[in-house]
Amino acid sequence: MKTKLAALTLSALLTVTACGGGGGDAPAAQGPQPLRMTIWTSNEAHLKLFKEIADDYRKTRPETGEITFDPLPFENYTTTLTTQIAGGNPPDLAWILENSAPDFVGSGALVPLKSKIQNPGELVPAATKLWEKDGELFAYPFSTSPFGVFVNTDLVKAAGQKTPQELIKAGQWDWEHANEINKAVAAKGKHGLTIWDFDYKGWDNLATIWRGWGATAYSEDGTTCRFNSPEMVEAMTFLHTMIFKDKAMPAPGTVADFFAGDAAMVVAQISRAAMLEDGEFGWDLVPLPAGPKGEYAVIGQAGIGVLKKSPNAEAAADFLAFFTDEANSAKLAAYFPPARDSLLTAETMAKTSPLLKPEQLQEVVIDGIETGVVKPSHTGQAELAQTVRASLDALWVADADVKTVLDGVCAKIQPMLGA
């Protein structure tokens, strides 16, 4: 009896494992096939635009069913996406963040796209680099978005400071001057500088500061930790002083929302401009301040890939081609800077970005895409990010020794970089 029971349990177990782990392709069902794309924006303006493009597509493709855009919270985006894949419920298309690009592109989870999308030759090489492997393109770089600084000009003026725009004209827009403004605003009771999605955890966003010192997280080939390089130590010392001595940045554990008017500046990507549509304060968008190594730009990237595991991969790729063709790229450019050469002009972008002025588009977006470096990414970035986060926590106290903490970061992650 016991043996029978054991055999029964084991066979049930194996059956379920075979169903769950194997993940064979499901046969295509009859009738219109719905498509689902996971995204991390839940901004109404963005969603409205996506839906319009999807509706246009379905007009000529009766075989395509409902196209849904499924917003997942940004903080856990990649975790939720991979859990859906593991649970046998992959989306047909997915936005992919730059920090998980090496994992997705390298694993073979995505459908090759070069032959599918319209005019791939016109995509800017700086934008496609992260999404290519062996000459093939695995995700469409639909947003190549430079970081800029949004400024609450009301708060800056109320603190009796020159606006960043005035400093740019005087050739003085650098981190030292920016820090003076933030210090003055913070002294008046509001907050100074904030960094979008940083919150003392998302350290990769600090690249928007340390690049001004010429620092990088890893060496070019990804095999060496560069957290304890002299440039990084200098940049992090500046940051530490800014937080704990000058109080020009909200301290750890303090919530300050620029878009609610709590802070003087936020370092963020231009797609965040949509949040200022109903802004109740005067604002400006300027390039990142210059660092000791001069002017620089940092870009965040997002690609859209088609999952191989999707039963509708063919239809999904076809929709992606439509979603990113020249006409629709021009529409999407309102929020997501395009990677198509022909669209990267201030005139074209101005038509679709009513919130931004032509000089803002030229200075921040177009110049940024040409000269920018992408935020840090590496194979196994999630584990690296978590390890760095845990080691960097020691830096976010007033009496931290910057060099010692950064040496500690490298001691932890160097073995993981596999050199």
């Binding site: 694993s107 989870a109 303090t254 999630a382």
Partner: protein, 313 residues
């Protein structure tokens, strides 16, 4: 065919009639099995099968993105033994569980004794202390996240008393303490109600007898109350220990395992490995470890009950 043969067959049939297959014990057994079958099916489907799968997955290297599922034998278990983070994770887990269990049981018992008095307003306070149990866990934790900020409500209150409070969720010691306290306040009401019920079951005359024998308040508590509510102490300590090892949402919301690794308890580490780092095989290995720890702790408590639980010796 002889007359004897015929006689034998008739007798045989009669015997068969006398012993039908569905005897009363068999019918009883069938009814019994039918009655427990929904529960049994539920246990097999939702407990035994997932557990079997977890053990099975712990022997695999499962790359979700590449879609590969490869048998690697004991490699994940070797990785567990060599994992440099294991020391920090197990220390946080032990500190967290010990702090939670001691604080929760002590506070629950104290509140129960206080609210067991025949005084005005006890019903109000019973409701007050029990109400957090009914609040959504994540909503509760998010509110506490705001209260525990450097410039949050807790430090605001301390400032009134002239105390400069720490940045609770950013200090290695205070972060763990904060998560423990938030969890204790949330759940202490449940244990309090269990203790209250037990306290009300202690016969009054035993206290009177002890009082006549000259026992003071402390002696009455130690010699009468504790032995008589000891089955409830056993129950609450088992559920609190098991619960403390499964605390996840509070850590995910309040600290995400930080600062450093100070609040990375085993369940949270398991989540990181499996879902964030996509090491599903290793995550499954960590859940086997968690199961073993819970099983051993429960077994130890169960075994020790004979030594101290009333009615069990």
């Amino acid at each position: 065919m002889t007359a004897t043969d015929i006689g034998d067959r008739v007798a045989g049939r009669a015997a068969a009639r006398r012993r039908p297959f569905w005897t009363i014990p068999r019918r009883d057994a069938l009814v019994g099995y039918l009655l427990v079958s929904p529960q049994l099916a539920g246990s097999v489907l939702f407990v035994l099968l997932p557990f079997g799968l977890v053990v099975w997955y712990s022997l695999q290297e499962w790359n979700v993105l590449a879609g590969t599922f490869e048998f690697v034998g004991g490699r994940n278990y070797e990785k567990l033994l060599a994992d440099p983070n294991m020391g920090a994770v197990l220390t946080s887990t032990a500190l967290f569980s010990a702090g939670l269990v001691v604080l929760n049981l002590a506070l629950a018992l104290t509140l129960a004794i206080l609210l067991n008095q025949k005084l005005a307003g006890t019903t109000f306070f019973r409701t007050l202390f029990f109400s957090p149990v009914l609040v959504s866990l994540v909503a509760w934790t998010i509110v506490w996240q705001f209260l525990l900020q450097g410039e949050g409500g807790v430090n605001g209150l301390l400032a009134v008393a002239g105390v400069d409070g720490p940045n609770w969720l950013r200090g290695e010691g205070t972060a763990l303490l904060s998560v423990v306290v938030v969890q204790v306040i949330k759940n202490v009401g449940l244990n309090m109600v269990l203790f209250l019920a037990a306290l009300q079951g202690v016969p009054r005359q035993l206290y009177e007898a002890a009082h006549l024998d000259g026992a003071g308040a402390w002696t009455r508590f130690r010699r009468v109350t504790v032995p008589l509510i000891s089955p409830t102490i056993l129950l609450t300590s088992i559920i609190t220990v098991v619960g403390s090892l499964q605390v996840f949402a509070q850590i995910a919301v309040l600290t995400q395992g930080g600062p450093g690794m100070s609040t990375t308890v085993l369940v949270y580490y398991l989540y990181q490995q499996a879902f964030q780092f996509r090491h599903f095989g290793y995550g499954a290995t960590l859940s086997v470890l968690l199961f073993l720890i819970v099983a051993v702790l429960t077994l130890v408590q169960w075994r020790m009950r004979r030594k101290w639980v009333f009615h069990e010796s």
